[in-house]
Symmetry: C2
Subunit: 447 residues, 2 copies
């Protein structure tokens, strides 16, 4: 097998929502209340919703910019590569990167629809569910639907109501969507603990419908910002491993006993730490269960429970690939993280290939697409002949895609920082500044 | 090489301080003010210091109890195996376990002497340093000194003053002590951030004296108690990996640039996650340094910095041993964790041997004793002929040690817990109860 023969499906990319997300997708009576893109006095753009500014349009959407120019600062649409928000351009960028399929996480509503959750908590549940359904319909029909076989649709949940979550899981399943987001630590967002029975209607619907629950890093546990004096690398390096805790909570929870067909994906969690994790949870169970009185009724080990229910993924993780036998070869999937700064676009095949040296073809196929099609009820070959799905075939369609790095609004010099480099404190300050700028409600945006 | 030929040196055990720690070791004028062991109304024991109850005498000191009987609850001395607090019995227990050498962390003063730090912060620095020196003298002369060659002495720092820390490093080095504790996140304890230049006098003294800085799990970052509904296994399984963050902070800090001979040990951190960690920090550096402007003046990669300066250790970690080439074979050491509940006593050699299947002799020697003797300036063979240091030779001296499990005060039934098993919330409640019980100042304790 050669690099160009790979078939690549990414289980973690991001969509930056275009300005027309809600147009024609919410009931007439709520049209004026839908989130709107506005331009602030400083020229940057933001979403305005019920009088509040929501998450920036392009937070960390730096794909295609030179690395000198990365940053966490918000950008305008004109600073971004169009593939961030335009689905035609996105598919062209996927082709240029040899990537067949993509599962895209949201930006504006938050990983688990917190934007609508806050408002529902404030009393207007009817408006909130209307907006959320409108968003999911746009994602499924407007974004994924335009290119059959190229996307794995991913819904966001009405996180404020497990009953509504169950209903939404079933509603979107009827539209062919079998993945939905959830938080690694919902208690931290003000919702019930992961161990609460209140979530049962949600778990049940997902188990019934074969819907994968996708738990993304940063979806509940806050980023590691504890030390303002630390270089920002400390936060970036440590974020994926925050899912270690969630993985432990899931394995030791009662959830899989109650819903034995449920599958949960740890999105952007990496895989290199999993061999250690599995050994550790088995050790802890074996050493402690006689006094904690916690058991697995089936007589299984914690690592068995993990391998039965948890789907892992990686961007570039040679240690994880080396130890794939310890992780479970049937549960490893691959991701690209377009358009965030950890992404390997547009050389994802080349970067990945280095980690795959010496790996048998069948293991490569499992990790790069087979496991994903199996777990996510995703069948690209229904729409595209298999020979058109390889790195080589896709890249052949993308010869006109301009890969030249585009200089954006980012880029700092050492004198911009007290220590000469970006610290956690510097980035916190940048973010706070971005959200406190005065703005005028000039509707529209840059497109 | 056979199991009985191994030489085992443990870089992480714990001493439960006996009642006479401070007797004769503090200036006359402060004798009455020294911490004293008292018996509470409920029969449990605690240390009383300046009107406050300090940490329990035997928190989690469960070695030699049947696993049904473990727990985090405080115990009385009579509930503990004498090897917890009696050095003669400790050495007999080490012999029975085939362990030659041991580095012992403190219990009562806290990992970094917080007990004295709080009081110094309240204004009485003179008393605090007198108590701290008394403690270190007891540890070095009273505990380790009685059995030359069997212990690696470990001091605690006057954490409230980096200048005093530097002085204490030099003072104990003159007594042959080349290890000292520090916190993984001093900022979390109310002291300056790890990245503060204020610590420089401490780092400098350690670098000058060849003193290893030992950073133990739980020494700054709090235990993971975020979800009261979670089974207690979540906390236990996730605690070692909390050092992932500290390791990242250390590598990206300016500390090793300034003090190139400094060595830092991650105590009880495990090793199986390190291959992933090293790959991750190199990836983050490579992907982000052009915009963060953070560099390594020497042109080294973050993983090089780690391998030059950081000492790792493990209890039982097959995935880590398998990937020792990725970690760095010269920096892996072994630990026993006596007398805590994660310990493998009294079958440490047998448990370890399973992880060592197929490992060349020289790699075994490096991990089980050679690296430790090199990094910690520890030369047991000056005192004990090498042939007397093996598992077989030590166990031969311990035929009369009673290894029968001793039933203590722990042990619960499912009806003791709302969920039928111990949750984080249950344990928090137990701990709070233990510290709020009324007590009478009956001096002495059970010995």
């Amino acid at each position: 097998m050669q690099i160009e023969d790979m078939i690549l499906v990414s289980v973690d990319d991001v969509v930056v929502e275009p300005p027309d997300v809600f147009v024609g997708r919410v009931p007439k009576k709520y049209e004026d209340l839908a989130p709107k893109l506005i331009v602030k006095d400083d020229g940057t753009e933001a979403w305005e919703y019920l009088g509040n500014l929501s998450q920036s349009v392009g937070l960390n959407a730096v794909v295609g910019r030179p690395p000198e120019d990365y940053g966490l600062e918000p950008a305008a649409f004109s600073d971004m590569r169009p593939g961030c928000y335009d689905v035609d351009e996105r598919v062209r960028d996927m082709n240029a990167n040899g990537v067949l399929g993509s599962l895209c996480f949201p930006t504006v509503p938050g990983f688990v629809g917190e934007l609508f959750g806050r408002q529902a908590a404030a009393g207007n549940g009817d408006l909130a569910i209307a907006m959320l359904r409108g968003y999911n319909d746009w994602h499924i029909d407007g974004w994924c639907g335009k290119y059959p076989g190229r996307f794995i649709p991913l819904a966001i949940p009405p996180i404020w109501s497990p009953e509504l979550m169950g209903e939404e899981v079933r509603r979107v399943a009827r539209k062919g969507c079998h993945a939905i987001t959830f938080a690694d630590n919902p208690g931290n967002l003000g919702f019930p603990s992961l161990h609460s029975e209140k979530w049962d209607p949600f778990w049940k619907a997902c188990a019934d419908e074969g819907t994968v629950v996708c738990i993304h890093i940063g979806s509940g546990t806050r980023m590691n910002l504890q030390d303002p004096g630390a270089p920002i690398e400390v936060m970036i390096a440590g974020t994926p491993i925050t899912l270690f805790n969630c993985a432990t909570e899931l394995v030791f929870s009662d959830i899989f006993n109650k819903f034995p067909t449920l599958k949960i994906a740890l999105s952007e969690g990496g895989i290199g730490w999993i061999p250690y994790f599995l050994e550790r949870i088995d050790y802890v169970h074996e050493h402690h269960h006689r006094w904690t009185l916690h058991g697995f009724p089936s007589g299984k080990k914690p690592s068995d429970v993990f391998r039965e229910h948890i789907i892992t993924c990686f961007i570039d993780d040679a240690a994880g690939v080396r130890n794939r036998d310890l992780i479970g070869i049937d549960n490893i999937t691959w991701e690209c993280d377009y358009p965030h700064s950890d992404s390997t676009w547009p050389t994802a095949p080349e970067v990945l290939w280095k980690s795959l040296a010496g790996v048998p073809d069948e293991d490569i196929h499992k990790m790069t697409w087979k496991n994903t099609t199996k777990h996510f009820s995703y069948d690209p070959f229904k729409h595209i002949p298999k020979e058109g799905c390889t790195v080589a075939a896709l890249r052949a369609q993308a010869k006109d895609v301009d890969l030249t790095p585009r200089v954006g609004a980012g880029g700092k010099s050492p004198s911009d920082y007290a220590k000469g480099y970006a610290t956690v404190g510097d980035i916190i300050q940048q973010m706070a500044g971005a959200f406190s700028t005065a703005f005028e409600t000039k509707p529209g945006g840059a497109r």
